[in-house]
């Protein structure tokens, strides 16, 4: 049994070896043999279960007057162990489009890179940039075709195209939603609370960045699987720029500085007779 990798194919055939009189010139889809087990369905189910709880992260993105604000934490956890505090969860697909990572790191990185390739090919073939709608649809169709096979991807595609700012949520169950405000990951309910209460369409870039940073901070405060550094990016008409990357521990003390406590009674040395 072989998996179908037609989603990975580039348009040019990779091998010429199969061309012959009997062949119509199309090479086989690249594939590899699956592991030999007595219970393949159980193996597949177990690998899906292993990946499922792994959306331990907080990412958010929202559209406002000046473009799209994208923010994420940087912690990677495996159960109770923090494996890294410095994971890049905002992936630069191309100079005017960003993707966020939640779920399996390898899945997100690989498929975003693949999406970047497809976007560039579209640009070369059509002499114009691909829209955010088109890019998100490409990714959603690929993820839909791998549905049920254990991919774990919860991503937002944010960009600026001819129609202005665009934001889509795409996940490995095949869902794709167009919207103005999303948060994905285990810390997302906490982030939504801060985001919803502070959101206004008319914000300056600085105000929006502060809202995004604050929402990530509050999510990392309450969610054990989120932490590290709160990165904030802005996507404007000329592309994306990284605005800040602040350690959430330091953010905590800048938002809630330690007041010196009023001492009611000082202890004094006991007088030894």
């Amino acid at each position: 049994m072989k998996l179908d990798f037609s989603g990975l194919e580039s348009s040019a055939p990779l091998y010429g070896g199969n061309n012959g009189l009997l062949c119509d010139g199309f090479s086989d889809a690249p594939s590899f043999d699956l592991p030999v087990t007595s219970d393949f369905d159980g193996f597949q189910k177990n690998s899906i279960q292993m990946v499922k709880p792994a959306k331990g992260t907080t990412t958010l993105a929202f559209i406002f007057k000046e473009g799209v604000m994208v923010a994420a934490d940087s912690r990677a956890s495996m159960g109770g162990y923090i494996s890294s505090q410095s994971v890049k969860k905002i992936i630069e697909i191309n100079p005017y489009m960003l993707g966020t990572m939640a779920g399996g790191a390898a899945d997100c990185q690989f498929w975003h890179r693949n999406l970047g390739i497809k976007c560039r090919l579209h640009e070369l073939a059509n002499k114009r940039r691909i829209s955010v709608t088109g890019a998100s649809k490409l990714l959603a169709n690929i993820l839909y075709s791998y549905r049920g096979m254990g991919l774990s991807v919860g991503t937002m595609i944010a960009g600026w195209d001819e129609k202005g700012p665009g934001l889509y949520y795409v996940d490995s169950e095949g869902g794709r939603l167009k919207g103005t405000k999303f948060s994905v990951g285990s810390g997302s309910p906490y982030a939504y609370g801060v985001l919803d209460s502070g959101y206004k369409y008319d914000m300056t870039i600085d105000e929006a960045a502060e809202l995004a940073r604050r929402a990530i901070y509050h999510a990392t405060f309450r969610d054990g699987a989120s932490g590290g550094v709160a990165s904030v990016y802005h996507v404007g008409p000329t592309g994306w720029t990284k605005l800040s990357g602040d350690d959430v521990g330091e953010l905590h003390y800048s938002y809630y500085p330690v007041e010196p406590a009023i001492v009611e009674q000082e202890m004094t040395e006991a007088i030894v007779a």
Binding site: A140, D171, E173, G175, S188
Partner: protein
């Protein structure tokens, strides 16, 4: 938690759907339009798994359009319903689509019609249909108050009663609903019933 229901009136058919896009306990969006305009005189309200819903309904929409380009005439509602059921049935024992559909259409010769299409490829031509947890409340409301040849106002009033019942009795009721209508002048959005602004 998704609610889709519909009914046939005098010269028109109505489809009502909730507009929430939910992921376990999180509401990602509360203005997601789940009633697709299949062609000028057909409406398709769909509920089910996220990816399947969008992919299957778009697949059907494009195939219906292709038929019209190839043959110069649009499909009848009955033909579209049978096409959909055939696709669901073929996929059922390989890679099933988990989508439930209420198809409403208006044909010049036969007037308005409503079809109930299940995720296991059941097909029924009906006067009223409902899917989801909301169906427990909407079906009995419609059974009680529906009568053939209702006017648009009567049907919308019945739809409102169903929505009120869902809102008050369903434990996690959807926030907003959209009502769409199809009659001899075509398929169009009728109105929204909102409790939240998005």
């Amino acid at each position: 938690m998704e609610c889709v229901f519909g009914m046939v009136g005098k010269g028109f058919a109505l489809v009502v759907a909730d507009t929430s896009a939910v992921n376990s306990i999180l509401v990602h969006k509360s203005n997601e339009d789940k009633i697709m305009v299949l062609d000028s005189h057909k409406l398709m309200g769909a509920s089910g798994e996220a990816g399947d819903r969008a992919q299957f309904t778009e697949y059907v929409q494009k195939n219906v359009a292709l038929y019209q380009y190839r043959n110069g005439i649009p499909l009848t509602t009955k033909a579209a319903a049978n096409f959909m059921r055939g696709e669901l049935a073929t996929a059922l024992r390989k890679n099933p689509y988990m989508v439930n559909i209420v198809l409403a259409g208006h044909d010049k010769e036969t007037g308005p019609s409503l079809y109930f299409i299940d995720y296991i490829a059941t097909l029924h031509k009906v006067d009223k249909a409902a899917f989801g947890y909301g169906s427990y409340f909407a079906l009995s409301m419609m059974d009680r108050h529906y009568h053939p040849n209702m006017t648009v106002d009567e049907a919308v009033k019945l739809a409102d009663q169903c929505i009120e019942e869902i809102r008050s009795r369903l434990v996690v009721a959807p926030q907003n609903f959209v009502i769409k209508i199809v009659d001899k002048d075509g398929a169009r959005e009728h109105s929204w019933r909102r409790t939240t602004k998005d």
